[in-house]
Symmetry: C3
Subunit: 205 residues, 3 copies
Amino acid sequence: MELTTLLYGIGLAAVAVNAASGVLEAGRKPFDLFGMVVVALAAALGGGSLRDVLLDRPVFWIADPAYLVTAIVTGLATFALVRLVRLPPRLFLLPDAVGLALFTVIGTQAATSLGAHWLVASLMGVITGVFGGILRDLLCNEVPLVFSGQLYATASWAGALALVGLVAAGVPMGWAALAGGVAVLAIRLCAIAFDWGLPVFSVRK
Amino acid sequence: MELTTLLYGIGLAAVAVNAASGVLEAGRKPFDLFGMVVVALAAALGGGSLRDVLLDRPVFWIADPAYLVTAIVTGLATFALVRLVRLPPRLFLLPDAVGLALFTVIGTQAATSLGAHWLVASLMGVITGVFGGILRDLLCNEVPLVFSGQLYATASWAGALALVGLVAAGVPMGWAALAGGVAVLAIRLCAIAFDWGLPVFSVRK
Amino acid sequence: MELTTLLYGIGLAAVAVNAASGVLEAGRKPFDLFGMVVVALAAALGGGSLRDVLLDRPVFWIADPAYLVTAIVTGLATFALVRLVRLPPRLFLLPDAVGLALFTVIGTQAATSLGAHWLVASLMGVITGVFGGILRDLLCNEVPLVFSGQLYATASWAGALALVGLVAAGVPMGWAALAGGVAVLAIRLCAIAFDWGLPVFSVRK
């Protein structure tokens, strides 16, 4: 499979997974159907939109409506599923972690391919990975997961830096992307399982 | 009258109406004069700015300062009026509904004229119509009207889809825009009058 | 020294000063190291990013990573300093005021050099000056300084209008920028010292 086809598939999967995480979180709130769709769209498209606007690229879901359709369809399907089956409350943490990994890889790769500085490229990975989830949590009036104490944006940045470093070391983009994505997912899942966090500094009362 | 002249006039009217709605809401808060102007500008220019940034068009009030001047003048005039006359508290709901209809039409039309996919174009109408009001409500520390339960963004989306559908069916843009705008206004005013809302789903406690 | 070199130096200084103000405020919250860096970056790069996106210029810290490196290094250095020395709680008000002045000048100058209308250019100065601080305060869950009652955005706008007016009157850009920046700083510091504010209007209960 060609690299561009692979990245396209990963992109659609990331959008679907994040739309599902949005509905799984919004489903615990008294939202109407439209509100659900809005949260799904914000979670699925928010990070990549901010990245594209900052990089002055065409916004991905405007250039290719397949992403928009994927987000709406996955959101509605998740909604139907959630009405039928009782799901454990914190289930959305898993698709959220997968979405974080996929979006981090896509964002870093997109910025790298435009010739961005490695530090900028890694930050674009973090923005793509994190911003949709921040929007979702703000719309649901929850404290954003990013600020929850368990490693989240740090996991994204570590994976993005791994990707950029491997590419600089001559590793082909496909393998570097795989390694970076696995790193994000592994760190994030460990952070949830073992309550990993950076030390907190409170300088004065 | 030519279509472009008509749309230009509608645009200025929408900006004026939304600036007025901003001052009418901010007037109930202990804001200073500058704060009032900021709320008026956010309400009047926020939605269209986000649309233009996403579509990568020149931002409308930077390309043509007439919109900026209109927003500031209308905001100050509304402020003077509000100081002289006692107005009913929820009066801003009416200009807000008119602004929602006008901006929905303009946003959908702008995206359509750039060749956007119909689903993207209708969403651009919703973003143009809704985002300025969300900014206004956030700055005034009110729960955004969009999330209030009564049809709001749904009214905008219904009208935008009507516009896009009529154009696809061969109706000239002018008539399709009129029909779409009237649909938004009618649905929104009925939603306020009869407390229409989508059913709310709360999946679990 | 050439004008462009001077403006480049002012830009780096403004980024450093705002990154420091971010850490000084975040240092009073239970943030981890990554959260500190995020607040520093938002404060230092937020206003200019919004300006560049609205003006459709390349975002300054993507085009030139020196700004990004400056923000990260200054943020970490401030953090180290804050751990060693006990600093008075409201110290960040001073770098914040200097940053407001520098960013106002840069934003107004950047928009003017693109041929923007004077009203638009002055507003770009305000956006550049104010938006980073708003992001910082929102991330730290503080009421934004802009809405605190003491002159803040008004100081920025007054200085921006002075700059634009002096340039229109034939004063060279370098002197106009100096006068505008000093005006912002003087008004803001007086507002803090003497509790200057615009009159507040509360129209009805």
